[in-house]
Each structure stands twice: as structure tokens, then as C-alpha cells.
């Protein structure tokens, strides 16, 4: 009598849709990091004076930059949505015996996100 160990391959991740979605979720972090490096470069250009900075900013108008931004945006939005949707799993709150509904917890984060976005836009663009 011997047991049979089924082989597990690393392509396991491609075998079921939920796993693929998970992998995409994890890979959003690459785009997150990418954009942060972009911000870092932007700040670095600031230290190099107006010229360097202006050239860098001008490059934002190029089609490739726009394309890269759009792709990044898609992934980062995916990150935001999955992140907020998971918050009620971690924040389990009770009002007496009743659990505060998950949509309410996630909803609060979405609302917070909207507020933060408006504030950031206002700060960056107008002040």
C-alpha cells in the first residue's frame, strides 16, 4: 500500500480563473512600484534645477508616456478595488450581536478614497 502524490507544477497559477486573478492582483505591485520610481525621478529632477525638470515634464506629453500611464492606471485601479474589497475581511466590526455589513466597511473606504482624491487633485493642481 502506498499513497500517490500528485505532481504540483508551478503553472498551477494558470489553471483556475481565481488564481489568475490573484496573480494579476499581485503583479499590480510592479506597476505601483514603477510609478513610485517615476515620482522619485520627478523629485530628483527638481533637485537638478528648472531645466532638467521642465524637460522631464515635457516628456509626459509623449504618446509612449501616456500609454504607459494608462496601463499603469488600469493595474493600479485593479489594486485599489481589490484592496478596498478585502478591507471588510480584516476589519470585522460588530454592533452588538450584529456584524456591521461588509459592504458598509468597504463602502467607507471607497468614500474615503473619493475624498482623498479630490484633496490631492486640489492640492496639486490649484494651490
Amino acid at each position: 500500500m502506498s499513497t500517490y502524490h500528485r505532481p504540483v507544477s508551478n503553472t498551477l497559477w494558470l489553471k483556475r480563473k481565481p488564481y489568475i486573478l490573484f496573480m494579476i492582483r499581485e503583479l499590480t505591485s510592479v506597476f505601483v512600484a514603477g510609478y513610485c520610481i517615476f515620482l522619485l525621478v520627478l523629485v530628483y529632477k527638481l533637485t537638478q534645477g528648472a531645466n532638467a525638470y521642465d524637460n522631464f515634464m515635457a516628456a509626459l506629453n509623449s504618446p509612449s508616456s501616456v500609454a504607459l500611464h494608462l496601463i499603469t492606471l488600469v493595474f493600479v485601479l485593479y489594486h485599489t478595488i481589490t484592496w478596498f474589497n478585502l478591507t471588510p475581511k480584516i476589519l470585522v466590526l460588530y454592533r452588538g450581536e450584529e456584524r456591521i455589513p461588509q459592504w458598509l466597511v468597504a463602502g467607507t473606504f471607497y468614500a474615503g478614497w473619493a475624498v482623498v482624491s479630490v484633496i490631492v487633485a486640489w492640492l496639486v493642481l490649484t494651490v
Binding site: E26, S29, V32, C36, L39, L40, L73, L77, A121, L125
Partner: protein, 116 residues
């Protein structure tokens, strides 16, 4: 108490995830859409304005967090992703590389911001 250093990485990962979720989308919209398509008037990100803004300590700190924390978020996720796709045997070097990268980015960010 079980000894594990994961809590430190995990808390940085979580903080980074939250910051990224909250502020990155709008920033990307600004630098990737609003600016190139001229939807927000005349050069709102001009050098003088941004430079003076970033000179504020508070803004520096915020920018520092916005750059550094998501790097740790990446480091943590990417580390596990690499392990998951089969690099388990080299999981320690991977961890060093990933977190090392985030730390390096953090230092560069700190130094750069300091210099403004």
C-alpha cells in the same frame, strides 16, 4: 511568543498598499491624462510652484511616504510571487533583493528630498 520578523514587513506592505490604493490613481490621472491633454489649464506643475511646495517639511514627509511605502508594498508582494512561481529554493536571496530594493529606494528618496 513565536519569533518571526514578518510583522515588520507585513505592516510596511499593508501601509504601502493603503497609500497606493488611496493616492496613486489620482496622481496617475494627473500626470498621465490631465497634464498631457492640457485639461487643467496652464502648466499647474511648473517648477517654481512645485519646488517651493516640496520645500515644506510636511509635503516632504508626505511625498516620502507616498514613494517609500508602496515600494515596500511591492517588495513584499513580489517576493511572494516569485516564491509562488517556483523560486522557493532561493527564497532568502529573493527576500533580500526585494526588501533591499525597497530600502534602497527609500534611502534615495530620503536623500533627494533632504536636498531640496
Amino acid at each position: 511568543m513565536a519569533k518571526s520578523n514578518e510583522p515588520i514587513w507585513w505592516s510596511l506592505f499593508s501601509a504601502g498598499g493603503m497609500v497606493a490604493a488611496m493616492v496613486l490613481p489620482i496622481l496617475i490621472v494627473i500626470t498621465g491624462i490631465l497634464i498631457p491633454f492640457d485639461l487643467v489649464g496652464d502648466n499647474p506643475l511648473n517648477f517654481e510652484k512645485i519646488y517651493s511646495a516640496v520645500s515644506h517639511l510636511l509635503i516632504k514627509l508626505i511625498l516620502f511616504a507616498v514613494i517609500s511605502l508602496p515600494l515596500f508594498h511591492w517588495a513584499h508582494r513580489f517576493r511572494f510571487t516569485l516564491v509562488d512561481v517556483g523560486l522557493k529554493s532561493v527564497s532568502t536571496p529573493i527576500a533580500i533583493l526585494c526588501y533591499g530594493g525597497a530600502i534602497a529606494g527609500t534611502i534615495v528618496a530620503a536623500v533627494t528630498l533632504w536636498n531640496i
